[in-house]
């Protein structure tokens, strides 16, 4: 009998999930989008993805060896960061441009792993999503290279969002399938949704953040878009740019999103409003990455405001 009585401190609820298991799930869930990117943009996309993932993992390994810290490469988080960063890069055309984009990817990987993640204490301590931090670093530094989108045939064209911003019409069906210019991983809504369904089925993410994000973004576009109830315009905005990739894979990052249920909904609403604000009234056509890293900074405040009361406390006095 005495073997059954076990007194220990919290946590009392345990789960078999480990960090590496969850990260592997995210990695697998990103594969459909990656494969579609390779199909859409050709082998160059594969090269960029491989280089970025390798650079992130190598940077993490080298940094932790140099700093004499336990090496955490096996938890797959660096690989996920690398894959996410690669999916956020445009795929250029021509050998020299591809080499230069690979160099940028390596620079971005070092920035993501060393400055955004490791300097703040490694996985679990980073205050913003490393992949997005690196993307914004590259976007500010190499604006023209990061916003020149070419299809596999080498013709560089404007993204649907840029066309929308210029007041032209776009083909929404193409955007849902993904036959459009853009960054490697963001073009196909279908491929991203397949990955997202896998994550929800595996219980890695819930619909709270992406749901409240997309709904509040849709409402914002309906009110302020200036097109009234134009469903084509709304769908193009929902399917265009990095919104789907951001909502399902980057806004839901465990470390940089709130842990409270109420907080996650507040976070999603802030994300939706900021993205709408940046897209409709900002200087550039896209605003998802800035919206997400900006909201990452608000997470501690959101958590403080939405902290649930422990059972039995805070009743009437």
């Amino acid at each position: 009998m005495s073997g059954l009585i076990n007194v220990s401190s919290s946590p009392h609820v345990r789960d078999k999930d480990t960090t590496s298991k969850i990260m592997q799930c995210v990695f697998i869930a990103l594969l459909p989008a990656s494969l579609f990117g390779i199909y859409n943009f050709g082998l160059n996309a594969l090269i960029i993805i491989a280089v970025t993932v390798a650079a992130c993992v190598a940077t993490e390994y080298v940094y932790e060896k140099l700093m004499k810290k336990p090496v955490t490469v096996k938890d797959w988080s660096a690989a996920v960061t690398g894959l996410l960063l690669a999916l956020n890069l445009p795929c250029p055309y021509g050998t020299e441009n591809v080499i230069r984009m690979c160099l940028l990817a390596i620079l971005g990987s070092v920035f993501a792993i060393v400055i955004v993640k490791q300097l703040f204490g490694g996985l679990g301590q980073n205050f913003m999503n490393p992949a997005l931090g690196a993307r914004c670093f590259l976007l500010i530094s190499f604006t023209s290279r990061m916003t020149t989108f070419a299809m596999a045939d080498g013709v560089s064209t404007a993204t649907p969002l840029a066309l929308l911003k210029a007041g032209e019409s776009v083909n929404t069906l193409d955007m849902v399938i993904g036959r459009i210019p853009g960054t490697i991983g963001e073009t196909s809504v279908i491929a991203i949704i397949i990955g997202a369904i896998f994550l929800i089925w595996k219980d890695v993410i819930t619909l709270r953040i992406p749901g409240s994000y997309l709904i509040s973004f849709a409402i914002f576009v309906l009110i302020f878009g200036g097109h009234g109830l134009d469903l084509n315009f709304l769908c193009a905005h929902l399917a265009g740019g990095g919104l789907m990739l951001g909502a399902f894979f980057m806004a839901t990052d465990y470390v940089t999103s709130p842990i409270t249920k109420k907080g996650q909904i507040v976070y999603g609403v802030i994300l939706g409003c900021l993205t709408g604000l940046f897209r409709l009234f900002g200087g550039s056509a896209e605003g998802v990455s800035y919206a997400i890293i900006f909201s990452n900074l608000l997470v501690p405040l959101i958590e403080r405001a939405t902290l649930p009361k422990p059972f039995g406390k805070g009743g009437e006095k």
């Binding site: 230069r100 620079l107 400055i115 500010i140 530094s141 604006t143």
Partner: protein
């Protein structure tokens, strides 16, 4: 003579106003987009700092304690106005690139800080050397930050191209605001590391000396 040299060493290394005391962040972050700007801002501040320190040290027994801050500000503002007029007359290009930050030297916390912490308690000559040390420390820090930002952000130092455009694509973020924070934080980290190593060495030396006795 030793204590004068010590003042200069103190300003440049031990209590470097930018990297150790972290004062004067506004000009440090705002004007260091190039090495030239860094040197210009640093030397302008040094000139004002030396003169203010000397005058305040000379007047320290005549300024009543209760109104010392307004007193300091009057002295500092006088010298800043003088410097600004001189810059406008003889170095108009530098004056244009530093712009608003020249009159803002009036509220630079290094100058206020040295007046309050050092000049109002010490003699004229010592205060002068304190001003020289602190000013050189500030100039050195600003030049370093400016040079690194200019090199990474445009591929040049003092306007001379070092990294040619044919193989180096400038990382533009370094001449924008975020770059200032990135470079400053890296340099502060490096300075902290150096100070820690020095302290360790001093402790070990003290231990060894104690053992020898």
């Amino acid at each position: 003579m030793g204590k004068y040299i010590e003042r200069i060493y103190n300003g440049i290394i031990k209590e470097n106003p930018t990297f150790v005391i972290v004062l004067g962040m506004c000009p440090t972050l705002a004007v260091t987009t190039s090495a030239t700007n860094g040197v210009g801002m640093g030397l302008t501040t040094t000139a004002v700092l030396i003169l203010c320190n000397m005058l305040i040290a000379a007047l320290r027994n005549y300024i009543p304690d209760k109104v010392r801050i307004p007193g300091f500000i009057v002295v500092i503002a006088t010298f800043v106005t003088l410097t600004e007029l001189l810059l406008k007359a003889f170095l108009p290009a530098l004056n244009d690139s530093l712009g608003l930050y020249i009159p803002l030297i009036v509220v630079n916390c290094i100058i206020m800080g040295r007046a309050e912490a050092y000049a109002c308690k010490n003699g004229v000559l010592l205060s002068m050397f304190d001003g020289i040390g602190m000013g050189l420390g500030f100039t050195m820090a600003l030049t370093m930050i400016g040079a690194i930002r200019e090199l990474l952000g445009t591929g040049a130092i003092f306007g001379f191209t070092i990294l040619s455009e044919s193989f180096y694509e400038p990382i533009t973020i370094f001449i924008l605001a975020p770059g200032a924070f990135l470079v400053l934080s890296m340099l502060v980290a490096a300075q902290n590391k150096i100070n820690l190593i020095n302290e360790k060495k001093a402790k070990e030396a003290a231990k060894a000396a104690a053992k020898a006795e």
